[in-house]
Symmetry: C2
Subunit: 215 residues, 2 copies
DNA sequence: ATAGTACGCGAACGTTCGTTCGTATACTCG
DNA sequence: CGAGTATACGAACGAACGTTCGCGTACTAT
């Protein structure tokens, strides 16, 4: 590297460094899990030093928590925010499912869905990191469920249990992610998409709500 | 278990040690993944030494392969073999689903389904271990699909695509495993069980075939 | 009986892990 | 301006990693 003795005022924002590092960290963790996310590998991947990362995040647990938070922001920006353009209920529900599938299919993170990749190696050891991953997933599940409930209240869907229907829908999206990674194919997304549409149609979803799934 | 402890037994001792170690190894890997399965921890868990494990399995990769094979045997013994008592088709399909849910719910491995726990941290790095895990899962998926096809051929089920229906069914069982581990609750198995029954009923499954799910 | 093979363990190897310390530099604030 | 804070790095730490070697011991094979 060249001389860092430039009196420029860019040193103020360590947040910029943090963001660069977290961008790599979320990607690395989606591949190797939150355990496999080591400070050494992250340092070389981000072009910095181990001690820099240590001082920026204070500890490995701090790094993991910041990584989960960063991944959650991406998740929200990619899935939740765009769906707010659709009215609450069936339309927003379908938009959420479509966005979730696209977020996995487009490999926003190299290892597919960040939370699917990290949930496994986290729910065996208690601590704030597990709590953070759990909270992200349960909030996501709950938000889907809320849209199902809203759709039922609006007469757009008919089913015995909103939570059961939400369970079925998320099962399909997550298995599409898992099997796509397993087989290295995008076909599971099409299979899951058709199953989602069929399931919603059976629950009484209108055709124009389901159209969102084909995009 | 100890049927073959003949006094003149050849290297029964070595095989016995291997079996003891693999029993702990499958359990450990279901919790920490095949990467988190370290020789040191396994040694203390099995009450042996690091070097013993190294000589018995030649390398970490050898240990991982043996662990996957051992887990696969348990999977087969718990899920496939008992289902052979049912006739090919809808009955055996339902028995397989019921056994798979019980295998996860009963925590045959402490970390839930072995392959769900290890698939994540394996499908990002090529090699024989990933191939072994992949083969186990694809064989399982294919076997389920075969039963769906047999059920269709026998007029027990009606659906456009056997593979799509099998996809939906396995989605539910795997998500039940994942969410049970996430929430520390057995309720997801009941939700998934009801969804499985409902889906099969919609495909024309007979009542006596579905009765198997309630056991 | 002799040679050969498979265990089983302790000890050490080189590497990587997370963490800490010292130091240099840049920005913020009293 | 000076005190304090934050970034960034190199160096080093103890611990754990996978692996290898040597040395016994038990069993098999010829």
């Amino acid at each position: 590297m060249s001389d860092r003795t430039e009196p420029d005022g860019r040193r103020a924002r360590g947040d910029a460094s943090r963001n660069v590092i977290l961008e790599r960290a979320t990607d690395l963790a989606s591949i190797a899990g939150l355990d496999g996310l080591t400070i050494g590998r992250l340092a070389t991947a981000a072009g910095s030093s181990k001690s820099s990362i240590a001082t920026l995040f204070h500890s490995k647990e701090g790094l993991q928590l910041a990584t989960v938070a960063a991944a959650r922001e991406v998740f929200t920006a990619r899935i939740i925010e765009p769906a707010r353009a659709e009215p609450r209920g069936a339309h927003r529900l379908v938009a959420l499912l479509r966005n979730a599938m696209a977020y996995s299919r487009d490999r926003v993170f190299s290892g597919g869905c960040f939370f699917a990749a990290t949930a496994a190696d986290v729910d065996s050891k208690p601590g704030p990191v597990r709590d953070a991953v759990r909270a992200a997933l349960t909030d996501w599940y709950r938000y889907l469920e809320l849209q199902v409930e809203a759709a039922i209240a609006a007469g757009e869907l008919h089913t015995d249990s909103a939570s059961a229907l939400a369970f079925e829908l998320v099962s399909l999206t997550e298995h599409a992610n898992a099997r796509s990674l397993l087989l290295g194919s995008t076909e599971p997304y099409e299979v899951a998409g058709r199953a989602l549409a069929e399931r919603l149609r059976a629950a009484g979803a209108s055709r124009d709500a389901l159209e969102l799934l084909d995009q």
